[in-house]
Structure formats: C-alpha cells, structure tokens
C-alpha cells in the first residue's frame, strides 16, 4: 500500500505545547470521515525550527507550508487541500513584506537560509570527485581557463562585492589584485584553515563536506595572480578534514585538475597541506605564514602586507576557508548574482555556528543583513526551557555582545561594528538569563591571555591585567575605579597591539561594560552576581517554611553537605558547599534559595 500524500505535523516542544497533538489527532479523524485515510499518511516530525510561527504543518509532495495552525483547522485542511487539491491560502506562510504565499521552490523561501557556501555539504560524498563534478564542480575552473583572463576574474570578484570571511571583511578582489600587480617571480596561494574561535566550526564542516570546492577556488586564484603553488594551513585537531582534503588533492591531481598542465592548458598548480599545532595566534595571517615557513608562529608588523610580501617574502594571496568556498559559485553564476544576496556593502551569505542556549544548535547560512531575531527564533527555534533571551556573543574572543534591544538590527559587517562587536569567523553563542556577563567576558579573556604569543607588551601585559581585574570583581573584591581602568587598558591594547589578537582581546570586556554596566556594578557595589554564576558571591540556603524534607536535594548534592532527616527541614553546610546549584535545580518546592 502506498500513500500519495503526506501531512507532516511539527512535533517540536514548542509546537507540541501549542496543541500540535490535537492537530495530529483531528487530522486523522477528518481523513477517516472523508474516507481518504488510506491515501494520506499523517506524520509527527522533529522540530522544524520555525517555532515563532508554530504549530507548523507541511504537506508533501505539494510542499505547502502552513503556519499557526489550530486544531479546528484540520477539517478545512482535509476538505480543501486533501480532497479538493486546493491549498488553504489563509494558513500558508507569507513573508512579512510580501503578499506572495511561500512554496518551497520559491526564491522568497520560508526558511530564511540560503546555502551558497554550504551548497554541497550533506549533498555529495566528499571523498568522490565525480559527485563534486556532477554538481558543477570544476566548471568555474574550466570557465576561467578557457574564457577569462586574470583581470576578468578580478572584475567579477569586484562586481560580487565578496569580502573576507575570516574576520576583518577586507574586499577579496583588492587582495588578489595587489598580488597580481606584482610583476613576475614566485607567488603563493594560501588557505587559512586554522579555525580557532571557541564554538565556531564552519571551516571544518566545509572541508569535511566539500573539500574540492576550496581546491578549485585556490586553483582559480593561482591562475588569476600567477601562482603555481598553494598551501592549506589546517590544525592537526581536524583529522577527518585533513584526511578528506588529502584524498581530494590526490584525486584532483590524478585526474589532471591539479598539477601540471591542468585540463591540457599551460597552467600548472599544486596544493600541499601544512598542519598547525592549534595555536590561536596562527590564525593571524602573518603568524600563519611564519608557521608554514617553519618559524615560531608570531605575527610581524604590517605593512608590508602578505599580498605583496608574504610566504618566504613572496607575494601571497591568503584567504579563509569560507571565503574560498564562495569563489567557484561567483564565477559560474556571476558576480551580479552574488551581489543580489546581502545587505548594503556586505554581499552574499554568512555561515554562523549557532551554539549555547538555543534549541536547534548547528550551522546556519543566511544572507548578510538577516536580523538576529530571524536567526535565533526562526532558524534556531528560540531559547529552550522558557528562559529569557539575554544576549548573543558574536566574533568569539575578538567580538562582543548583542543584546535584546538590538535583536532586530541586520547582521552585517557595518552594523556589528557599530554595536562594538565584529563578524569574526561567525561563532554565535546565545546566552539566557542564567548567564553572567562578567563570567562570559572573563572566559574570553582567559582564552586570549592563554593564546597571546607574548611578542608585544600591550597584549601580553594588558590582557593579563584585564583578566586580573575581572577576576577580582567576580570574587567581590572589585572597586568602582576598576571600570575606568578596564576602559583605559582596553584602549591601549586596541591602539598599540601588534596584531588582531591583541587589538580585539579587550572587546568582550568593553562590550559587557557598555551593555551590562548595571550587572557588573552589582558585583562591585552590592557584592552580588545577579545571574547567580560567580561562585564567590553566591550562597545557597534552604527556606525552612517551604522545605518538606523530601531528601531530593541531599541525594543530588555531589559533596554531601546537605543534612536533615526525612520529613524534617534540611540544612546546607556552607563550609563545604561548592555552589554547583544542583540542589537549586532539583528542588520541586522552591525551598532552595540563592542570594
């Protein structure tokens, strides 16, 4: 028996709590009543990530996407859509600014995501060069070698408006043209795959899911600027990505898509892998190049920029993995096509690694300029457990926070900078009411202090100073003048540090002082951590009038400092308490309090 239609009812937590179960049952009843139960299967699904518009009902193969469906709508859905084959207009999803109803194949797609960089991830076998070729793989290289000059490629990149995805957002066509303009001599192409921001893993996913995409892009750059040799600098912690890259390089070389006389032309280009030991500073381009040369990974002053004087002092094009992954598609579909996606001076899409207090964590690729609200609520499915959204940290240890007040600001290079954050590599860590912003800033500073190479004093000394101050505040030893000191040290680091690591290291601290000054001041003046995270400022105790003596907290306590007989009021021995909060979470009667 085969069904000819499928009705999918979203079974995510949010939809279920707004009566998706009733919708499911009503649909079954209505199908029975209409006598078509044997033709249509009703299925409960996992979360569709569109929780703000839930409950969601989707009909396949028609691809109709219904939102905010109520149990009583089941009758109409069956009578109209299933029996008469007419979509129920009033329930179909509409874009806020358009009157068009969204069907899956439309451009104004209900899902908000547009996958340019990740177009092949999850579609093709990354270890099969044939599958990549079948999805227009190496078509861009073919086009460049047969129809385009180096100047044509650069003109196309300029039209596309592509900017570096590694953090700073420098226009890619400019980088390439600086290298191209240098007359003659040995030149190099380098791929920066030294992904180090906590929580960001888009580069790893691209290399694991679509390695040929990056190789093809590097060959295009080689042809454009006149380089015959490329390096991929990747951290040794990414064994699967390394293995697949290695296989991709071997396959492409064997088929003549890399190596000497590519596709029978006189262009030759080879790629080698270099492994990094996982130092964060090696993501900085001059430190990365030093590391490839076999030197200690430390940055050097710029200028001269690598585009003119890079690897072994030769002109070098160096781009981040995600930037590379955009190149082949810009060639095959054209710079104009690419420039239609995005916002203002930020073109194309950006991949974000959505993590933290979010229902659907994962990789999200959205057009530049997509508001944070869409990313958090329509793609990420919102904050779990009914907690309140507090902030998002973008740009990892180099970035800052975006608060609930700015949730509708478009996310692109310019707007993030205005808010005192940066795009960075695209880590996006969502925080809810239980997160202490001081603790967040302290965490990132700990990271940058640890990862500072120590070459320049502002970063080496300034970072440690900042961390010491934040640590004092978190222990209740903060003084009001500390806030000014943070601003002063931060400014010196921004202005005087040698590389991006030190220049951006104070950003998380400066950002939380800008947006959460009250919360930081509470640590200093009232010796309190409003979120209850800073252990030295928190105390858990049991409210005698609410405790019924169920013993649950005592059983959950990992250090056994809660005492009390069954049905008697319990007590926490403060001297041994490690302030883990287990008892607070465990108590069903609100008898454990925190102050």
């Amino acid at each position: 028996m085969a069904y000819n239609q499928y009705i999918l009812v979203c079974g995510g937590t949010a939809c279920m709590s707004s009566k998706a179960e009733d919708i499911y049952c009503n649909l079954l009843d209505e199908l029975d009543a209409a006598g078509v139960r044997q033709d249509v299967q009703v299925v409960k699904t996992g979360c569709f990530g569109f929780c703000e518009k839930g409950p969601i009902v989707k009909v396949l193969p028609d691809e109709a996407f219904y939102v905010e469906v109520k149990p009583e709508d089941a009758k109409e859905l069956v009578a109209e859509h299933v029996v008469k084959g007419r979509a129920v207009d009033r329930l179909l999803y509409r874009e806020a600014d358009s009157k068009e109803n969204a069907k899956i194949d439309d451009i104004s797609f209900y899902q908000k995501q547009v996958r340019v960089v990740l177009r092949n991830c999850g579609f093709i076998n990354p270890e099969s060069i044939e599958e990549y070729i079948a999805r227009d793989g190496y078509a861009a290289l073919e086009q460049v070698l047969t129809e385009m000059s180096g100047d044509d490629v650069i003109a196309e990149l300029e039209k596309s408006g592509l900017r570096g995805r590694g953090g700073a957002g420098f226009p890619t066509f400019k980088k390439w043209s600086f290298t191209k303009q240098v007359e003659g001599g040995q030149k190099y192409v380098v791929c920066n795959a030294d992904e180090g921001d906590p929580g960001a893993y888009m580069d790893r996913s691209i290399l694991e899911g679509d390695p040929h995409n990056v190789l093809e892009a590097m060959a295009i750059a080689g042809y454009t600027v006149g380089a015959d040799s490329g390096y991929i600098y990747i951290r040794a912690e990414y064994p699967l990505a390394i293995r697949r890259l290695q296989k991709a390089i071997e396959d492409a070389t064997e088929m003549g898509l890399l190596g000497d006389n590519i596709l029978g032309t006189d262009f030759s280009f080879s790629v080698e892998i270099r492994l990094g030991a996982g130092a964060f500073v090696c993501g900085e381009e001059t430190a990365l190049l030093a590391s490839i040369e076999g030197e200690r990974g430390m940055p050097r002053p710029r200028p001269p920029f690598p585009a003119v004087k890079g690897l072994w002092d030769q002109p070098t094009v160096i781009n981040n993995v995600e930037t590379w992954a955009n190149i082949p598609v810009i060639i095959t579909k054209g710079g104009d096509w690419f420039a239609k996606i995005g916002n203002g001076a930020s073109k194309g899409t950006k991949v974000f690694a959505l993590t933290g207090k979010i229902r659907n964590s994962g990789l999200v690729e959205v057009p530049m300029g997509t508001p944070l609200r869409d990313i958090v609520y329509n793609v990420g499915g919102g904050i779990p457990d009914g907690k309140a959204f507090k902030a998002v940290q973008t740009g990892g240890p180099s970035g800052g926070v975006i608060t609930a007040d700015y949730i509708d600001v478009p996310i692109d290079f310019e707007h993030l900078q205005e808010l005192g954050s940066i795009m960075g590599s695209g880590g996006m860590i969502v925080m809810d009411e239980d997160d202490c912003m001081l603790d967040v800033a302290k965490f990132y500073l700990e990271f940058t202090v640890e990862e500072s190479c120590g070459k320049c004093a502002p970063c080496r000394v300034g970072g440690r100073k900042l961390h010491t101050i934040l640590d004092k505040i978190s222990k209740g030893q903060g003084k009001p003048e500390h806030l000014d000191q943070i601003a002063e040290i931060g400014l010196s680091m921004q202005r005087a540090s040698l590389c991006g690591l030190g220049q951006t290291a104070p950003n998380p601290a400066l950002s939380v002082i800008r947006y959460f000054r009250d919360e930081i001041e509470a640590h200093i003046t009232e010796q309190q951590c409003p979120a209850g995270v800073c252990k030295d400022l928190v105390q858990y105790f049991i409210l005698p009038d609410k405790c019924i003596g169920c013993t649950l907290c005592a059983r959950r306590c990992p250090v056994n400092v809660i005492s009390g007989e069954r049905k008697q009021v319990h007590e926490i021995d403060q001297s041994g308490c490690i302030k883990c909060g287990e008892c607070y979470e465990a108590c069903k009667f609100g008898a454990v309090a925190r102050r």
Binding site: V43, C47, K58, Q111, A134, R204, S205, Y238
Partner: protein, 135 residues
C-alpha cells in the same frame, strides 16, 4: 584515471549528473545518505551506518545504496540521514540511532511510509539545482 581534457570533464559531469538525479523516472533504486562529519560521527553515525547495512542485508534488499556525505549543519539532530525512495518525497531524518535506522529500512524503504518523530526540514533550497531550472 588518466589526466582529463576539457571534453572529458564535460562528459563526466553530464553522465554523473544523470546518475545522481534521483528524479529521473527510470531510476528505481533507493538511496540512504548518512551525514558523516565530525559532529555526526561523534553522535554515533558509524553505528547508524552499520545498522543500515546489516538491516538491508538481513532483509535481502539489494537495490538500496548506502552513501556517506559531510554534515549538513543540523548538529542538534545528529546523526542525520537523508532517505530517497522512488515515488516518495525526499526526507531528512534526525537523531537516527541503530533502532531508528532499522525502523527506516522496514517502514520507509519496505513499507513506503514515513517514520514518526524523526523527520526534520531541509535547511535551504538547493541553489545548484535551482540554477538549472532557470537555464
């Protein structure tokens, strides 16, 4: 394989594309496509893959291809699996452990019905295929 010329590359692209296009009506095999990125493998995709292969074998199904791809970014629902069966919609399943894998073989591949509670939405439209429709 010998080094390719431009002509070889175009021919290979065309033939492989037809082979991969599951919508062609004469293609009667089913595909089970397991996401095998680092996140998928960490969530147990290797066990999932093994369960699919063993279940297909024990059911004597020889017209089903099990393939691996990279991650599609649905980390919250790993391991993820795409199932393409002729005359049925292409579906992405999430949180597919060995038990769910066996259920997919029995109910989806053999029974031609979708498996409850595990379907997730494809994250975005395919720009490569879309481009073709426009040409």
């Amino acid at each position: 394989m010998a080094k390719m010329t431009l002509e070889d590359l175009r021919k290979l692209r065309e033939s492989k594309r037809q082979q991969m296009d599951m919508r062609s009506p004469d293609n009667k095999t089913a595909d089970i496509i397991v996401s095998m990125g680092t996140s998928g493998i960490a969530a147990g995709a290797k066990d999932t893959l093994k369960a699919f292969v063993e279940e297909l074998e024990s059911q004597g199904l020889t017209n089903v291809a099990v393939r691996q791809v990279g991650g599609m970014g649905l980390e919250h629902a790993e391991p993820t699996v795409e199932v393409r069966v002729p005359d049925m919609p292409r579906v992405i399943y999430g949180t597919v452990d060995a038990d769910v894998a066996r259920a997919i073989v029995r109910r989806h591949v053999m029974g031609k019905e979708l498996v409850n509670e595990h379907i997730f939405d494809r994250p975005a439209a395919d720009i490569v295929e879309d481009g073709k429709q426009g040409e």
